[in-house]
């Protein structure tokens, strides 16, 4: 595992418990009642995309479906609204995973932005179908905030993988 496929640095493999814990934490963050302020990112979607790109064999549509249903229930949206969006999001992220890993982090964020926007478009269409009307443009703001957060998130979630296998007390770095 490398930071990107062009990087020379090898990373340690991701620990399954860390992957699931980070997804769970993102789900909890999505439950935090920040209120109806505009532009709060969809944490679960962002972390889901991250692991779908990093570990496409293990994190995919099943996890997307599960997270989506949990958010639908927690937020009281129509059953399946987030689930459908996250399944499609995971499908695209899994499909593009091999390609995205060749780009530096900033360009990765540019790949992630349209994915998140598409997921939100799915949710907006579901809302329109449910008779709530198509949401205002503010509804799409979280995707842009999430894309900005991509770079810090990459380093935060890869932090455990940066650790060396044999820690040398005399040479801490």
């Amino acid at each position: 595992m490398q930071l990107t496929n062009r990087s020379n640095r090898l990373l340690r493999p991701a620990k399954p418990w860390f992957v699931y814990a980070s997804l769970f934490l993102a789900l909890l963050l999505d439950y935090v009642p920040f209120g109806s302020h505009p532009g709060i990112p969809n944490w679960a979607a962002l972390v889901l995309v991250f692991w779908c790109i990093r570990e496409p064999v293990y994190i995919g549509m099943g996890m997307g479906f599960f997270l989506g249903v949990m958010i639908d229930i927690g937020r009281g949206t129509a059953m399946g609204e987030h689930a459908l969006a996250y399944v499609i999001l995971a499908f695209i992220a899994n499909g593009l995973a091999r390609r995205i890993m060749w780009f530096p982090s900033l360009l990765q964020a540019l790949h992630v932005l349209p994915m998140l926007l598409l997921a939100q478009l799915v949710m907006a269409c579901v809302r329109a179908f449910g008779g709530n009307g198509f949401p205002e443009w503010v509804f799409f703001l979280p995707s842009f905030v999430s894309a900005v957060l991509w770079l810090p998130l990459t380093y935060l979630l890869l932090l455990p993988q940066f650790q060396p296998i044999d820690r040398d007390e005399n040479r801490p770095i």
Binding site: S36, F65, G68, E81, G133
Partner: protein, 329 residues
């Protein structure tokens, strides 16, 4: 390396192909959506799963609550004394009317009897506390700490001491969801107190049109002086007799809300060029501020059907006999 690590990739992928799996998941989602939105089949499943999730969302709401409590804790003594004095005055103002209320109600009932009118139905009321507001930028909803177990049902009005706040739109076993009257999709049938003119009131949502609106919203949110939002009286004719400062109360024509609950005050009237006037109102209740609320509703639910006891003889097979008589004829 342990076998449970992610890095042991399988050489050959076995199982269902990715596109088929997408199709399966998407179909499940679509079925759930249609079942939920069109047929309302998901109610009980949602209720159970919500009970599983509610500890998680409670944990998630703790940090913000702690922050709010901390800022509240350090509000100075003067503010508290001020509030206390205001509450005392409020109580005194209401006391006289409250004292006469029972007498007036009796008198009203007698008069109604004399006039041969239908008796006013008794009202049920439940107090509840607002737990948190739903994190969604395109709706305005809050969650209350009581649900079906406390007798809350779908459609009841939610008020505070000053006026109407919203309507119960979803009921879970131990929580319920209230759509505030400032939500874009929430309608309240109202009447103007001064002249009895009727209309329907809608929320205007957040009304964030430009990026500067968004930044202004955030500035206000950080200083915690966000306004309650505004309301719009739609379909009022351009020449209708509506003036600023008019009070609007629920008309009760919908058969859901009790009549006479204060809702809003007219802020501005724009008799534009179109057939309808643009009437903007300000909610009277503490929409988005009140933490203790009252849930009001009519108690005209029909009595439950009597359960057939096991000892009773089974009812006579009526259809069979009619069929046989028909056959004979």
């Amino acid at each position: 390396m342990p076998a449970s690590d992610f890095q042991t990739y399988p050489v050959f992928r076995r199982g269902v192909s990715v596109k088929i799996r997408l199709l399966i998941y998407a179909t499940i989602c679509m079925v759930m959506l249609v079942a939920d939105l069109r047929f309302d089949y998901m109610k009980s499943l949602r209720g159970y799963l919500h009970m599983v999730i509610s500890p998680m969302s409670k944990v998630a709401s703790e940090p913000l609550k702690l922050l709010g409590n901390a800022t509240g804790h350090f509000s100075n003594l003067a503010a508290l004394q001020d509030e206390n004095a205001k509450l005392r005055q409020h109580q005194l103002d209401g006391a006289e009317r409250l004292l006469r209320f029972d007498e007036l109600e009796q008198e009203n009932a007698k008069l109604r009897e004399l006039l041969g009118m239908r008796k006013k139905l008794p009202v049920k009321s439940i107090t509840a506390e607002v737990l948190y507001s739903v994190p969604d930028s395109s709706s305005r909803k809050v969650i209350l700490d009581k649900g079906k177990q406390a007798g809350i049902t779908h459609g009841l009005a939610v008020v505070d001491a000053d006026g109407m706040l919203g309507q119960v739109t979803r009921v879970y076993p131990n929580q319920s969801e209230v759509t505030l009257i400032t939500d874009r999709n929430q309608a309240v049938p109202v009447r103007i107190v001064r002249n009895g003119l009727r209309g329907v009131m809608f929320g205007t949502g957040q009304g964030l049109r430009t990026l500067s609106d968004v930044s202004k919203h955030w500035q206000q949110a950080i200083q915690s002086d966000l306004g309650p939002g505004s309301l719009e009286l739609r379909f009022a004719l351009a020449n209708a007799d509506i003036q600023p400062k008019d009070r609007l109360v629920t008309s009760g024509l919908d058969g859901i809300f009790l009549p006479g609950l204060p809702v809003a005050e007219v802020e501005s009237v724009d008799h534009g060029a179109g057939p309808f006037a643009r009437v903007i109102c300000r909610p009277l209740g503490g929409v988005g501020k009140s933490l203790r609320v009252l849930i009001l509703g009519r108690t005209e639910l029909p009595p439950p059907p009597p359960k057939p006891e096991t000892g009773d003889p089974p009812p006579a097979p009526l259809p069979k006999t009619t069929r046989s008589t028909r056959g004979r004829n």
